[in-house]
C-alpha cells in the first residue's frame, strides 16, 4: 500500500510516497529523490558505496529501513555535503589529490572520511586506513584517498 513518508534530506523537509515502509533509505534517495551521490554497491553493508550521514554519523543507506528514520533526523548525502561551488574540505582534497579512478566508491570514501574527521581532528595515516577499512575500492585508488583525507585533516 502506498504511503507517505517524511524525511529531512540535505536540509530540506521532503515527503515521498513508498509502497514498503521498510524500503532501504538508498532507494528513496536514488529513485524517489533522484540523488546520485549514494550508490548501490552490494545491498549488504559490505562495501560502503551507499554511505550517507544521519545526524552526522556515517550510515550504510542500503540497509537502513525508512521505518527507522524520523522526519527530524538529518540525512545528508554527497550532494548536501558540498556543491561544486561550495566544496566541503574533504571534497576539495579529493579534487586536489585527484583521488578518483572510476569514482563509484568515492561517495562512501568521502562521506565516511568526513564523519571520521568531524570526530578525529589530527588523525594519523594508520587511523585513516582503519577508519576506511570497511570501504572497498576496486580500482586501487586507496593511496590517493588516504593522501586526500590527510590533506583534508590539515596534516
Amino acid at each position: 500500500m502506498a504511503q507517505r513518508k517524511s524525511l529531512n534530506v540535505n536540509g530540506k523537509a521532503v515527503r515521498i510516497t513508498v509502497d514498503d515502509p521498510d524500503m532501504p533509505l538508498l532507494y528513496a534517495l536514488r529513485d524517489n529523490l533522484q540523488l546520485h551521490g549514494p550508490r548501490f554497491g552490494c545491498g549488504l553493508a559490505q562495501c560502503g558505496a551507499c554511505t550517507v550521514h544521519v545526524d552526522g554519523k556515517a550510515v550504510r543507506s542500503c540497509v537502513t529501513p525508512l521505518s527507522s528514520l524520523s522526519a527530524q533526523q538529518k540525512v545528508v548525502t554527497l550532494e548536501g555535503l558540498g556543491t561544486p561551488e561550495r566544496l566541503h574540505p574533504v571534497q576539495r582534497a579529493f579534487i586536489e589529490e585527484q583521488a578518483v579512478q572510476c569514482g563509484y566508491c568515492i561517495n562512501g570514501m568521502i562521506m565516511e572520511s568526513a564523519a571520521f574527521l568531524a570526530r578525529t581532528k589530527k588523525p594519523t595515516e594508520a587511523q585513516i586506513k582503519d577508519a576506511l577499512a570497511n570501504n572497498l575500492c576496486r580500482c586501487g585508488t586507496h593511496a590517493r584517498i588516504v593522501k586526500a583525507v590527510m590533506r583534508a585533516a590539515g596534516a
Partner: protein
Amino acid sequence: MTMHTSRRDVLKGGGALVVSFSFAGNIGEALAQGAKPLTLTEVDSFLAIDAGGEVTLYSGKVDLGTGVATALPQIVADELDVPLNRIKLIQGDTALTPDQGTTWGSLSIQIGGMQLRNAAATAKAALLQQAAERLGAKREELKVADGVVSAGNKRVSYGELIGGKRFALTLDHAKPAPAKDPKDYKFVGKPLPRVDIPEKVTGRFTYMQDFRVPGMLHGRVIRPAAIGATLESVDEASIKDVAGVVKVVREGNFLAVVAESEWGAIKGAERLKASWSKSQTLPEAAKLWDEVRASKVVKDEVTSNVGNSAEAIAQAGAKTLKATYDFAIHTHGSIGPSCAVAEFKDGKLTSWSASQATHNLRKQLATMFGIPADNVRCIYIEGSGCYGRNGHEDAAADAALLAKAVGRPVRVQWSRADEHGWDPKGPPTLIDLRAAVDGAGAVTAWESEFFIPQQTAGSFNVPLVAATLAGMPAGEDIAPGNIFQNSAIPYKFANVKTVCRRLASTPFRPSWIRTPGRMQNTYANECFIDEVAAAANADPVEFRLKFLDPNDKRGIEVLDRAAALAKWDKRPSPRRDQQGDVAVGRGVAYCKYELMRTYIAAVAEVEVKRSTGDIRVRRFYLAHDCGQIVNPDGLRNQLDGNVIQTLSRTLIEELKYDRSAVTSLDWASYPILRFPQIPELVYDLIDRPNERPWGAGEPSAAVVPAAISNAVFDAIGVRLRSVPFTPDKVLAATKGAA
C-alpha cells in the same frame, strides 16, 4: 571546463546533421540526411568544429574511469591549437563514434589517441590552407592560437573557416599527417586535472547506474540456481503481494521480474518462487588443476621456438629445473554491479550501457534478436570500473529482452550476487616450466607450457547470458582475450620453446580481466627466471640483464632504473641472515608488454611472518616506460590501480564454487584488499616525448605477482607458485621446503 557533456545535449555532427539522443528520436531523419561519417578513414568521423569554434571529438574508445576523457582532448588541443575547454567528447555511441575497437589492452591512447591526433593534424593542415587563401597570406606566415589563425593583423577563426561544414578529408593511419613537434606542446605531458572528478566528488556525475529515461520500468533477473540448470516451474502467485510488479518474464531459462519501482523489482526477484533442475557441471574445486591438466587440447600454439630445447635439456651434465605455477580464477569485482537501460520502439533497439565495446555489443544484440545491426544503437554511459569484459554487456542483453517483453524502456540493475555469480571469469591458468643450466651458470634451455582455454575462431564475442538462457542466438564462443601474450620471454637463451596448450573448455564462461594472460604468463616466467637465477647463485637483476637483448636499450634502462629506485641490494636470493619470526625480502620482475611495447620493471619489498604465513608488502617500486606520456598524473593514477588491484588478486583473490555454481557471491566470500594493506608506492616515470605513446592501463599489473613471489623467496627461501599467496599456502610451502 565543459568537456564532459550530458548525453541529453543535442549533438552536432558534420554539416546540418542533428542527432537526438535516443534511437526513437531523430536518428532516422538524420540518417536520411546523410549520416555522420563513422569510418576510420575520414576526419569527419573523429571531429567537428561548429561556427562558434567548439570542437566535438567522437571517440570509439571510452573512459572506463581511466582518465582518457581528459587525455584524449589534451592530445587534440595541442594538435589543433585550441583551448582545452573548447573541446567536448562524445564516447562510444554507435550512431556517432567510429569503431576504433573495444576499449581494452591499454590501447586508448596508443591507438585511439593516435587516430585522433592524425585527424586533428589533418584537419589543421586543411584549416591553415583555407586560412592562407582567405587572408591572402603565405602558409608559413600564419600563426595559430586558441583556434584563431592570424597573418599580421588579419585574423580568421576555425569557426569562420569550417563552422558546421564537413572537412571531407581522408585519413591514412599508416601514414599519419605530420604532427606537432613535442617541444611545442602546451597540454600533452602536463599533469592536468581530470575533467570528471569535480562532478564525481559532488554527486553530480551521471553514471550508467544513475541513468533514467521517461516511462522506464525496473527489471531484476533471477539467475538459475545452478549453471546449466533448467527452469522447471515458476509460481507467479508467490509475489502477488509485492506492490508494483508489472510482469514476470520467462523465456526458456531466463527469468526476471519487471516492476514500476526498483525496490518492487528487488523484492519481487527475491521472493519469486521458482524451481530449477539439478546441474553439476563444475569440477570439484579441490581437483581444479587436475581437471585443467586433463582437459582436451585443441591446439598447441608455439609462441617461440629457438634452437632445440628438448635436446639441450636431455643433454647429460645439464642441471635441470622444473616447476609448475598456477593462477586462480578471478572475478572482475566491479564495485557497482552491472546496469543497463534498453528501449524497443518500432522494431529498433536503443541500448544504454557501460559496455567497453558498444560496436561489438550492437552486433551481438542484433544477432540475439534477429534484427539488422542498423536497427540497434548502443550508447556508452560510464559505469563503475569494469577492468575488462564484466557483466555490462550481459545487463544490456537482459534489459533489451525485458524491454521487448513489456513494450516499455527497462532498466536492469544486477544484484551483488548476480555480478559475482554471473560475470565472466578470468580463467584458471596452469603453467609448466623447465630450464637447463650448465656448470658455468649459463641457461642452455628454457621450455614452457601454458594450459589455457582456446579462443574459438578468433572470437571476442563472450556469449550474452540472457541469449543463452532464453535459447536465443548466442553462439558458444570461448573468448578469453589474447591470453597467449607474454608466454614467450624477453631473454635470449640458446634454446627456447614456449607453447600454449589451448584447451577445449574451461569451467566458467571466460573473458578478459585486466592484463589477461600477460599477468599470469609474466608471473610464471618472472618467478621461474628467479628460480634459475637462484640455482645459478646469481643476483636476480644482474641475471636478467645478462640475458636481455643488448640492443633493447629501453628494456635494460627500465630494469636499471627500477633497481636504482629501490636501492637494490645486489646479491643472490634468498637471504640467509634472518632468524626472527618476521623476515623481509626484496624481489624483482620485468616485462616488455607483449614483447613489443611498454616496458616495466618492479621491485617489491615484503615482510613475511613465518608463524602465520602473512605477507605484508611494505613498498612497491616501479620503473615505467610507455614512450610519450600524455598526462603524468593520470599515468600515476593508473599505476596505483595496476599495483593495488593486482596485489589484491595476488594475495587474496580466488573464486569459490561448488559443483553447481559460484559460491563467492559477496565481498565476505570474495574478499579484496583493504586500506590497512596498502603499501607505499614509488615510481620512476620515464618520459620519452619524441617516441610514440604506448599503453599504461594494464602493463604494470603484469609484474606484480612475480615481484611479490620473488620477494617472499628472498625473505624466507620458500617459493610461492600458486596465486593467491594466502597464509595457508605460505605455511604449506614452508613445510614442504623444510
